[in-house]
Every structure is written in C-alpha cells, then in structure tokens.
C-alpha cells in the first residue's frame, strides 16, 4: 500500500511508530506480565528508589509499585485520550460537514455556536464542565471531547465548503442524488483523509489534556491512577523523591511525542500537496548544473538564448521541459514564442533570468547571453542587478503576481529604488509618470490603490508599468493577456505595441494564440515537447507553415468571421515531457510520419531566420 510506504519512508514517523508500538505492546501485555497489584499500599515501603529488588521503578508515597502503576496508568490515559478523540472527531466532523454542505443560514447558525465555544480558552470550558459534573475520569473525558469538537467542526467545514463548491457536487445533484446520498458518497470519502489527519495530529493533545485535568485532581480519582494523577500525587514529593514524578512525566512525553511524530507522518503521507515535496522553498536563482560545455558566443541579438536545456527533477523522474532551445531578439523587435501547455514556452522565458522555481527546476545546459555576457554563469548579485533593470518580465495573472498587501505605488517605487538611488519623492513622481504612460486615468490617486481595488485590465497595466520602471532593453511577456477579457486584451496589446515602437524595446512574447502573434510579432518560434519545431518571420509562418504541427495547429483554431464549420482536429494528445519519444515528438500524431521520424533526433535545419525540424516538411524553406 502506498500510504504505508510513504509513511515509513519518513524516518521520524517510523521512529514514532516504533516507540508507540512498544508502549502499546507493553500495555496490551499487562494481563500476562508478572505485575504487582497497582493499588495495594504498603506504607512501610515508601519511596523505594528505582532499580530496587522487586520494584524496578521503585515505589510511590504509599509504597505502591511504580512500574505496575505506570503501565496501568498508561493504559488508562491512552484509552481515555483515544476515546475522547473519536468522540470529538465524530461529532465535530458531522457538524462541520452539515454546516459546510448546506451553507447559508444553517452554516451561519452552527458556526456562530462553534465560534462561541471557541471564544473560551479551552481549559475554562473544560473546567466549567468538570465543575458542573464533578471531578472524575469519565467527566474529564467528556470535557476534553467537548472542547475539541469546535476544532474538528471548523476544520472539516472549511474543507467541505471548498468541496461543496466544486463542480462534481453539482454534477451529482444533476444526476438526481439527494442530500444524504451526496454527503455520504460524494463528500465523506473526500474529507475522510482530512478527518484522519486532524485526528492523528490532535490525539496527542487530548491525551495531554486529560492528563492535565487528572494532574489538577479533577480527573481520575484515587486509588485509580492515570499518568496525570500519578504526576499530580508525586508533586508534593518532587524535591525529596523526584523519581516518582519523572517516571509518569517521561511516559507522557514519550506517548505524546511518538503520536505527534506519527501524526505528522500521516499528514504528510495523506496530503497530496506535501507528497511531491511541493513545500520546498524556491531559491533566489535557478540551479545551474550544466552537463555540456558552455556554447561559444555567436554574436546574435541583444538577448541570445543558446541551446538552453531546463529540466525538472522530481523524485526519480526527469521532466525535460526545455530541450536545446535557441532564440535571440534584437532591439525594437518582437519575437513570438508559441506553444501549447507543456511545450516549454514559459520555462524558456523564466530560465532567462533564473526565475524557474528551483528545486525542482535545474538548468542543465546552454547559455543565455545578454550583450554577450552569459547570465547563467553570472553570480547572483550581477544577475539581480540586471533583473528588472535590463531585462524585465510581465506575467500572466496580474492578481496573483502583484503583492496583495502593498499599494501599487509602493510596488512601482520599489522597482525603481532597488536599482537606482532615488529619493522617495522622485520615485513617487516617476511612479505616477509610469502609470500615465500605460494610460491609467487618475494616476495620482491610483498609486494609492491596492491591487484588489483594481480591475484585471488595470492591474495588468500596473504590471506593464512595473516592467517599464527602469527603461529595460528587453521585456519578456509570459502570456500577459491570457487571463483578460477580449476587449481588455486588445487594449493591452495595442499598448505594448506602441511602447515597443516608442522605446525601441525588444520583446519576447509568450502565447498560445496565433491571432495575437500575427498582430504583434515580427518573428515567431513554435515550440512542441520542449523543442523548437519551426521558426521564421510571422508572415512566412502564417502563410507557409513548414512543420506539419504548425500547419495543423493553425487549422484547429477557428478564426472569427468564418461562420459555422467543421474544425480540423489533431488526433492524440501532446507529449508528456518526462517520457519523450526518441524521434520527433509530434510523430505519433502526424499523418506524414514515417519510420525515420520515430528513430533518432531530427535537427533543426535552415537559416538563422527560417528553420524547421522535420524530414517531411509541408513546404521547402529557402
């Protein structure tokens, strides 16, 4: 089972499991172990130190055998803690699912009640319950379970609200399922792992809390003892006979720690977000680990990407996102990079300034030259100085790419001030000027806005203004209009085009849309499976596509004004870059493919400005 494998691959969790397993084994073996009666007092034999004859751990203030009391006490503490956890989890989850699923007024009323319970520091509620019911272990159990119900209810409600908004719940409704059935068969299986996680991370707490109540003398009553009451009774002899305190104290610590370790392991194994190590912190700069020599400078362009290879190393799998991609762009030129998801277009763009999240990203080959200098070999400080100053980025989703807690003016000022010693006043004036240059009305008051106070189009203008802040030479725009409405997209594209002409900017424009490329770009490179399959001037590519993929991809895309028609589809699916075929990546979907296409690597042939990677091109290229 993958769950157990994942769990025990985590060494700490395995350690926790071993310790907890040993404790459980000891506790379960109580009936067959030669233990003395834990409650028989022998006042003549008080405070016998540990490792004495007949009393391995010594005796307590009434001369009772500590080992025996410890094991019985452990059994009681574990049993009570786990039982309390089960009760709290069951009631809390049921309440949470009902509140989250039905939403609206039901949710409101239930959550108000839960909030009231959470308004108490937990011990106060537990104390009040024990005060009302009277001291005793069962009452302590009820109190601990009750104070933990809100925790489960809240947690599970949160997950349920997220799930209830998902489309498969709507689908189940349309399939004629009733509420009970949806809750039991659609929701519950999906929240079960969260319930298990919440339980495994809180059962330790609940054991601690019951022990705490017993420690205060409000839980188990003499002569019966759990670990907490053992510790409580031993407290008065702490200074003279510390062993009576240390024995139960260490046991509580061992139990809670092993449960916590195991609980963390369970959470990591069940939570798919953590499973792939996704919580790794991306470094400031992509790791460069070149397996091949750095290619010599061929003097092309202002920004020149040469034989770039970028990979993602996830576990044992290697995703070859970018394979031997070479591109260059001249001042005042707009180069389009077009491809579908997984073609490597965004990774190419991010590799330029070392912004590919790393780990798992690694640049494994090639060079990125800015004015001849290889940025991949540069140290971080020199790369940082060029980021935003020489080469700037515009990203796709302007809501997530602007910092939500800073005013847009401050974000613009920061972009200027990290590169130039400018007073706040001048930086602010520049920020206003920038906003005006991207045609944001009322720029003076807009700089005081937070990103969430602006519309998508306005935010993207801020993104562009930020890219322009230091008059960079190159702008890399990664799908800057994909998240925008079509009327806004048209304005943003026109703006970019104007800025390029006014300022002589070199633009690398990443997109999946041929219409956009046609309108904005001078030259185009088409990416498929991490490789350039064709490049050339925009008119050449659009009018005379040479690679079968380019040709068929254009045919798939309906164009406005064509009326109702059948679309030419490409059969099959784009390749997965962890498992690329040896030959042409498009061969499995290509009608013209022959054996030769599937055998070995196919070179990109042609000139610097017009090339195709195909042995059966649609058109001969000059």
């Amino acid at each position: 089972m993958t769950f157990l494998k994942l769990l025990f691959r985590n060494r700490l969790a395995a350690m926790g499991a071993v310790v907890l397993g040993l404790i459980l084994l000891l506790v379960l073996a109580i009936p067959v172990l030669p233990l003395q009666d834990p409650d028989v007092t022998n006042t003549g034999n008080r405070f016998v130190p540990p490792f004495s004859e007949g009393h391995l751990l010594g005796t307590d203030h009434l001369g009772r055998d500590l080992l025996s009391r410890l094991l019985y006490g452990t059994r009681l503490s574990l049993g009570v803690g786990i039982f309390a956890a089960l009760i709290a989890a069951t009631i809390g989850s049921a309440v949470g699912i009902i509140a989250g699923y039905f939403g609206g007024r039901t949710d409101n009323i239930i959550m108000r009640g839960i909030d009231m319970l959470m308004a108490f520091p937990y011990i106060l509620l537990a104390l009040a319950i024990v005060a009302a019911l009277g001291p005793g272990l069962l009452n302590a159990l009820i109190a601990v379970a009750a104070v933990n119900i809100p925790f489960f209810a809240r947690n599970i409600r949160g997950i349920t609200v997220g799930l209830a908004g998902r489309e498969f719940i709507d689908a189940a409704r349309l399939a004629g399922m009733g509420h009970t059935r949806i809750i039991l068969t659609e929701l519950l299986p999906n929240v079960l792992s969260t319930i298990v996680i919440a339980m495994s991370t809180t059962v330790g707490w609940m054991i601690l809390e019951t022990a705490g109540l017993s420690f205060l003398g409000l839980g188990s009553q003499p002569p019966q003892a759990d670990l907490g009451s053992m510790l409580g009774e031993a407290r008065s002899a702490l200074i003279t006979d510390p062993h009576t305190s240390i024995v139960p104290g260490v046991m509580i610590f061992l139990i809670v720690m092993s449960i916590n370790l195991l609980g963390d392991g369970v959470r990591d194994a069940l939570d798919p977000r953590l499973r792939s190590g996704a919580l790794s912190r991306p470094r400031a700069q992509t790791i460069v680990d070149r397996k091949s020599p750095v290619p010599a400078d061929d003097g092309n362009g202002l920004l020149n990407i040469q034989n770039l290879e970028t990979q993602f190393h996830v576990g044992k799998r290697i995703y070859r996102a970018v394979n031997d991609v070479s591109l260059f762009v001249n001042p005042g030129e707009c180069l389009g990079v077009i491809g579908e998801s997984g073609s490597g277009k965004s990774v190419t763009a991010l590799s330029v300034m070392g912004l590919v999240a790393s780990p798992p990203g690694v640049v494994t080959g090639g060079a990125v030259r800015y004015e001849g200098e290889d940025l991949l070999s540069a140290n971080f400080e020199s790369l940082r100085q060029k980021r935003g100053d020489k080469v700037a980025y515009i990203f796709q989703d302007p809501l997530s790419t602007l910092h939500p807690l800073y005013r847009v003016g401050d974000q613009l000022m920061e972009a200027i001030q990290v590169h130039h010693k400018v007073s706040d006043k001048d930086a602010r004036a520049k920020a206003v000027e920038l906003l005006k240059s991207v045609r944001i009305p009322n720029a003076e008051s807009r700089i005081r806005n937070y990103p969430h106070e602006m519309s998508g189009g306005m935010r993207q203008r801020v993104g562009i203004a930020m890219a322009l802040a230091n008059d960079p030479d190159v702008i890399i725009a990664d799908e800057p209009t994909t998240a925008l409405d079509v009327t806004v997209q048209a304005q943003i594209l026109a703006l970019l085009d104007d800025l390029r002409r006014e300022r002589g900017l070199a633009i690398i424009f990443i997109t999946h849309d041929f219409g956009v490329v046609a309108q904005l770009c001078d030259r185009v490179a088409v990416l498929y499976g991490g490789k350039i399959v064709e490049e050339g001037t925009t008119t050449d590519i659009l009018d005379h596509p040479a690679h079968p993929y380019t040709k068929r991809l254009m045919a798939c895309v309906p164009e406005l004004g064509g009326g109702k028609r059948e679309l030419a589809a490409i059969p099959g699916l784009p390749p997965i870059v962890s498992d690329l075929p040896p030959g042409c990546a498009f061969a499995p979907r290509c009608e013209k493919a022959t054996e030769a296409c599937k055998e070995g690597a196919i070179p990109l042939e042609g000139s610097e400005t017009r090339a195709v990677r195909c042995i059966h091109p649609e058109e001969e290229i000059a």
Partner: protein, 319 residues
C-alpha cells in the same frame, strides 16, 4: 417546429446584506429579465465577458440556482420547481473544468452509473449495456471505467464529462465553456465530438463561451450578453460580421485576427459599471462611443434590427 427551451423574463438577483444588522439589503442583478427560445436541434451560442451573467444563467437553466423571477419551459412543459432531478432528465450541464467536475474518489464507472440509477432506476445489466453504448459513441475505451479521474488528461476527462451528461438522456445540454480549459489542439477534437453527438442523439445545445471564434464556429444563433442583459441576438454568421449593437462591434473588433493591424478598438473606458450601484439607462453607455443623452436615462429593449437580428440599442449601427 416546437422549441426545446423557452425562457421568459428569467432573472436572478443576489441579495447582499450589508450594514451592522443586515438591514440595508442591496441586490446584485446578475441576470436581468431576459427571454429567448431555442428550437429543437439548434445550437445557441452565448457570449460575454467576465461578469456578464452567463454562468448564472446556465446554472438557473439546469436548476442549480433558483431564478428570482421568470419561467423556464422545456418542450412545452414548465419547470418551476428547483428540483435538480426533475431538470436532470431533460437538461444536463457540461462543466468548464473537466477535472473538478469528476469526484476524485470515485471510479469512472461509479460516476457514470449515478444518473442511470438515480434518474432512471435502471438495473445492473441495463446500466452496463447503456454505459457501453455511450462510451462507444464518445470514443472512450471500456477499460477506462475502472480508473479514477486523476489518471486522465483534460481532453479525456472532458469526454467523460460528455458521456456523463449523455447518460441522463437529456433533450438539452448546457455547455459551459466546455473547451476553455483545454489546449488548442485538443479543443477541436472535443468540439467535433460534440457536433457529431448532437445529430446522433438529436440534442439541443446551449454553448456558452467567452471565445468569439469558437462560438461562431459551432453555433446557429448567438446571444451577446453584457452586464446581465441580452444586448444582441442574431444568426451566427451575421452577428459578428454585421454587428448592430456597439458592444458587439467592440467585441468583434477586439478579437485578434490574423492580418488585421493592431489598434485598440474605439471605446472610452474599459471598466464595467459597479454592479452594486448600476447606472440608469444603458449599461454600456459609459464605454460607448455613440452614446447620447437618452442612453444614460432610458434602458433600451431588444428590438428587431432587420432579418432575424435583434439589438437593445437606441442608435444601432447600420450596415
């Protein structure tokens, strides 16, 4: 020909309680009263940008949201109760996100069986036979039935979504952005499959999308929505070729087209009006280059503007 779907004065207002004790109740009119008819066998395209109310409309049509006012009639029968099961046998919904619309903890077979069991109370043998038939028509292999949703790519998952909608044997399917989450090369596969299924099962489609070119390529007629209202209806080949409403023209001019030079189309402002505080008169007036005094005071209604085309504008564009 009878209409498969008839909608009259359908509207949805979301109440937003504000103020300390929820006193100042404000309403956001996500869908303003609208009426239209879809004849059997037609594909009606619905286009609009974000915030135009197209998803709210779709969810009302399948019974996932209760309309604030208005009626929905399917094949002459009024559906006024918000019981999704009653809707489910007549009208089905195909979701935008193919992965999120499949329960990750269920096999494809369990997902497929649900509508057959719940809506038609079929026995096991009958269900298996029916699922085989449907899988055959959407070109999915039967061995997929034992797998879980995460094992499928977007395109395949969307085919499963189609199969599930078909399992309910509906008369009408609402396709809510069915291809926007897919890659271009896969989009065409799904669109072509949808077209084939339509004639095979004699279905009626409502095709909702923000992509003008896709809508034009698959629809017979097109409805253009803006700010919760219908601003223009007409034949697919006419609406964008000869737009009468200035907003439709703005949309058509904004779509990137190969060979058209890049200029921002004429408009004064790109902001939508504030939904909590909508302006009187035409909602498009603040952005409209042709707006006059009257547009800011009166709300225009749909009127015929020649042929089968209707536009809600006081000063519609001429050819």
């Amino acid at each position: 020909m009878t209409s498969a779907l008839k909608v009259e004065n359908l509207a949805k207002t979301f109440e937003i309680s504000g103020g300390l004790f929820g006193r100042n109740k404000a309403g956001v009119r996500a869908v303003r009263p609208m009426s239209f008819e879809v004849p059997t066998g037609e594909t009606l395209g619905i286009v609009g940008e974000s915030g135009c109310g197209k998803s709210t409309l779709a969810r009302m049509l399948v019974g996932l949201l209760e309309p604030t006012e208005g009626t929905i009639e399917i094949e002459g029968k009024a559906l006024d109760n918000a019981d999704p099961a009653a809707f489910g046998r007549l009208i089905q919904y195909m979701f935008q996100d193919p992965v999120s619309s499949l329960n990750p903890r269920k096999t494809i077979k369990q997902i497929m069986e649900a509508p057959l069991k719940r809506l038609y109370c079929m026995g096991k043998a009958e269900r298996d036979k029916r699922i085989d038939e449907i899988f055959d028509s959407v070109n999915l292999r039967p061995e997929f039935l034992e797998r879980y949703p995460h094992e499928f790519s977007g395109g395949q998952a969307q085919r499963i979504g189609v199969a599930r909608a078909l399992a309910a044997a509906p008369r009408i399917i609402i396709l809510d952005e069915p291809v926007s989450a897919l890659d271009v090369s896969v989009q065409a596969q799904v669109l072509n499959l949808l077209r084939d299924l339509k004639s095979e099962f004699n279905l009626t489609y409502l095709f909702i999308s923000h992509d003008l070119a896709v809508v034009e390529a698959v629809s017979d007629r097109i409805v253009v929505l803006y700010f919760g209202s219908v601003v223009e209806i007409g034949k697919a080949e006419e609406v964008f070729a000869n737009p009468r409403h200035p907003y439709t023209k703005l949309l058509a001019d904004s779509a990137p087209v190969v060979g058209r030079p890049l200029t921002a189309p004429e408009q004064k402002d790109s902001e939508l009006p504030d939904p909590l505080n909508p302006p009187p008169g035409c909602a498009f007036a603040t952005r409209c280059p042709r707006a006059q005094e009257r547009c800011k005071k009166e709300e225009p209604v749909l009127e015929p503007v020649g042929g089968d085309q209707y536009a809600a504008c006081f000063y519609p564009l001429q050819d």
